[in-house]
Symmetry: C3
């Protein structure tokens, strides 16, 4: 990556982008998504109001790596009506009420026969859980345990008007072309129904990040992928296997709207450029976490499978599975906020800046320090107790510009922010003191 000149610094993000991301997430929230079906298409439609998405349809039955694209699921209505004729559960109230990929069903059952089909959270009795049965031929409902516990014995009328038919799996892509065809992949899963943080937040954030790049001349190309979890990522990998060598950096993005501190899970490689760049950015954020790779999580599982081993990490705030709202009806629009989305946007933009602006300078005056004062680059009056931060950045860049340190490695060694070193390197280049290392 050292051989092409760095990209331009980004314009500062407009203050209101957090609000825009929130509003977009709020539009996505009500849609009933699954790994296939119209919910995914409607979601892509909404995202298309911001970016020019390319839509892909992969037919049912297509072999994708070790998997086969399942039938397309559709659902129109579902309910449980109690012995007294009152509706106890109605899909119209919350799309979490139906286990995703439930088979159609219509019948009347005694409570004992119904119970195995109902999922609750006894320890969070007021919340509806989120459940799926993509690859099991069954059906089910999810509901609050409080309500479940009050269901009297008797006969219950169950109606699930759903379909599982030949159709296709849908995903969307947006490519921002840079000077190079080397790519930064940013991926968010699009398959969860009304869960705000997981992952309306990620979808909306990536859409507006993509929009912000549209007018920027970048060094890298940026590929944004909105695909259903697991099977969608596997379909995309399967169809793009010959291009994967172009992926130099990648991030899965999910749960980026809550009040938790930013967190990063390293790629399987552990020391990829993206791992170092994220560690540098989060290293300057109070309370941020950087965690080692593990093969459980989102689609980094697929990107980091041993046959691909792509340099793809995972960015989130509260870590999935660790916060009580995770995969429940409490992951709603109150759980996320514009200020947190803005913060996540800022962090991803900072990482993109590092990817764009990193380069390896070579000091053209490597013997002793060049006389900075004569060039107007150094406070002329000596004897002060400490140099300004800018002077430290100039000295670090000159000292490490031996052709073996990129700006990011200088940031790692010096403890200075990448941005200060990049600014210093621009200044020194402008004065003819640096050139690009061969």
């Amino acid at each position: 990556m050292e051989r092409f000149s760095p990209g331009e610094p980004a314009a500062p993000a407009s203050f209101g982008v957090g609000r825009e991301i929130y509003d977009l997430a709020a539009r996505l929230f009500p849609i009933c998504r699954s790994i296939t079906g119209d919910g995914v298409r409607q979601t892509l439609d909404v995202l298309s109001s911001h970016i020019d998405l390319e839509r892909h349809e992969v037919p049912t039955g297509t072999q994708v790596l070790d998997w086969v694209v399942p039938g397309e699921w559709s659902i129109r209505s579902a309910s449980i009506t109690g012995p007294d004729g009152q509706k106890i559960v109605d899909f119209a109230d919350s799309n979490l009420h139906v286990v995703s990929y439930s088979l159609p069903f219509s019948g009347t059952l005694p409570l004992d026969a119904l119970k195995p089909h109902i999922h609750t959270l006894p320890e969070q009795p007021g919340l509806i859980p989120y459940r799926t049965c993509y690859y099991a031929p069954t059906w089910g409902f999810c509901m609050a345990h409080d309500r479940f516990a009050q269901m009297p014995d008797g006969l219950y009328r169950v109606e699930i008007d759903a379909g599982l038919t030949d159709g296709s799996l849908t995903y969307g892509e947006y490519l921002h072309r840079g000077r190079s065809e080397r790519e930064f992949l940013l991926s968010a899963h699009i398959c969860h129904p009304s869960l705000a943080d997981d992952n309306c937040s990620g979808l909306a954030l990536l859409a507006l990040l993509a929009r912000s790049l549209a007018t920027r001349k970048t060094r890298y190309s940026y590929r944004f992928l909105f695909a259903p979890g697991t099977i969608g990522a596997i379909a995309w990998l399967s169809r793009n296997e010959d291009r994967l060598h172009l992926v130099d950096h990648g991030l899965m993005v999910s749960c980026v709207g809550d009040a938790g501190r930013p967190a990063y899970k390293r790629s399987r490689r552990g020391d990829a450029f993206i791992d170092r760049a994220m560690a540098h950015v989060l290293g300057r954020e109070a309370g941020a976490r950087v965690m080692d790779f593990s093969p459980y999580g989102y689609d980094e599982r697929q990107y980091c499978s041993p046959g691909f081993d792509l340099p793809v990490g995972m960015f989130q705030r509260s870590v999935h599975g660790e916060f009580p709202e995770y995969h429940t009806s409490a992951d709603n629009l109150d759980f996320i906020g514009p200020e947190h989305l803005q913060d996540s946007f800022r962090i991803l933009s900072a990482v993109i800046d590092i990817v764009e602006e990193d380069w390896t300078p070579l000091n053209l005056f490597p013997k002793g320090e060049p006389q900075l004062g004569r060039r107007g680059l150094y406070a002329a009056l000596g004897g002060h107790k400490a140099p300004g931060a800018t002077s430290m950045a100039l000295l670090w860049v000159l000292n490490l510009a031996d052709g073996r340190h990129s700006l990011l490695s200088m940031a790692e060694r010096s403890g200075l922010p990448f941005g200060e070193l990049a600014a210093a390197a621009r200044l020194l280049s402008g004065h003819g003191l640096l050139t690009a290392a061969p």
Copy 2:
């Protein structure tokens, strides 16, 4: 080691093995051992009731590396009789009373002339110390300082009926043959007299560990060595120099019956397989210690001398030299217990399991995750908060099965127990998802 298939998992240790080890240690305790002589032979006789020992005799005067096998020491009786005609010290009471390798002596001395020959522990005045003078032509007694302090002036009658004559140095070996002639060396010093932890405990533990392997088909061969400290290990090394390249793993075992937490001292190499396996096992034991190599201790000093540099570490509980009972009469049968011996047996068995069961799998479906659900290997109903430990082990094994990670390195990286990963790898192999890396 990657090329041969893993050994079978061990049957769980019977609950009573700790008691059996204790009973065997108790039979060994009264015997007066030294680096040569009938005490060693009697000890091997007792051990032979459990395993089929091969006995070796190395004649006095034999050059072994830089050393010469000393004369064989024998002792029948020894005592000090006071001015009042009463016996103050009698070898019949404790074989610690006589400095090991004391020359025969008979005579009457005034107290002042006797004192330099008496060793006590002023800071532990009730205990008899343990002392030796293998290579110095002298004699001496050890006794409690309390008693020593009360000795009145006067003439003392000293009798030591000992012999130092041409004979031989004795050691025993037991070899459990596995499929490979590559060896795991387990060694315990046999030269200490009535010290229970140091090292009746190690001798008894190794004997019963050897017995437990007798009916197990193993990958490795296991060599158990019961030899006198220093000169015995040196004699064995000298006589087996041409076979040392077969030693892939090794452990010195001593002080394994006390209530201290398990401790391991790394081999000189520091990162040998045995070092990693012991660190993994002890890493899951509360209060356990893993220490760097140092050239002081037991016969790891010889095994790890620079001309051999064998991968031999040291397993113990309370660290020799750090506990007050060490090398005193307080290291008796009350100081050790069946539960601690059982615990030590369990730990060594766990390490043997790693040595036996480690292998390097190769994922045959390395691109994306293989669909585990279809194969019945994964909970079919998704959306749950966290996968069971077994699912995590399956995912880790698949993810790291790139031919560069053995199961032990997977355990190190994942933080999961070796056993869970080994079980997952067996399951995945059984489903045709893994093969052995070439």
Copy 3:
């Protein structure tokens, strides 16, 4: 460095050397030094009373690396006289009162016009700061803020009788020749006026360290450099570029007389022999600090510029820029003390001992331990709880004498002091157990 035999151990430093260093620093203190001029020459004159210095003059206008030697500055007197005719500031009271390299000036100014030329420390209102303007055509005064704050409006008479004319930059060198032409460079800046710690202490310490070597037969050659900061080091580097490959070790020395604990800043390489030796010595000093390289500080900035990258670290006590007396009139003869100078002398002597005495032994009896008792090298009576420190050093040296460990690396691994290992190696060599590794 392994191929020639180690140097002799040093004689212990005389107890009074701290007092001698202090007295020499006190003689240097009053002289008004700058980066050029008679102050530097007078300082070299004083140092010449202890060592036979070689003096170098580099003419004004000489190109040295990226820099040009400036005109030579001289100052005879300078003062500010207030509206009431009283002298407010007089160079005769303190040579810190005049900004170093002030241009000559004579005139009468209103207070408002004078103020920009006056430097004070509002947060340390009783102290005079130290300031320079080497490369800016201006003039200025430094004074206590308390006094400055009381200056009434009115006209002030300013007189600076200074000169900036063609002349030369002066530096001094002393070379102690060892058996090898490989060098240890010890460098102190000579350009600061009356600042006791920074750097009368360093100049005096190096002079007496040089004197202490004069009668010692050393392996290395030792070059002591007394040169003005930055431009002096750059001039020396420029004129010695073809000999820099001979510098195996180096230290900048400054601020070595105060009560702070010893501190070392690593060379740019970070793992040079000098970095390891200093870390070993300071690792045994309570409260000592070892810091990573940074390109701000003294002339290690020049020595460690990427085109040279010499193995030169920085030794000091209180770290420059971190203590309140730094670059103020409080850095006076009360701020330094003989006991601290003695301590710094001891530490540098210990590092020189490591440089002199390190070698890589080879155990001639590498299989098993050689029998030390037979050679009188080991306590003959066994069974004791712990060996003496000397025994541990013998065992460590024998164990690590595989030709891949020098004594310093043995010290690093064992945790024993270098001196103990060096003594053990001498003893073992004397008994024919070691030879020098090829």
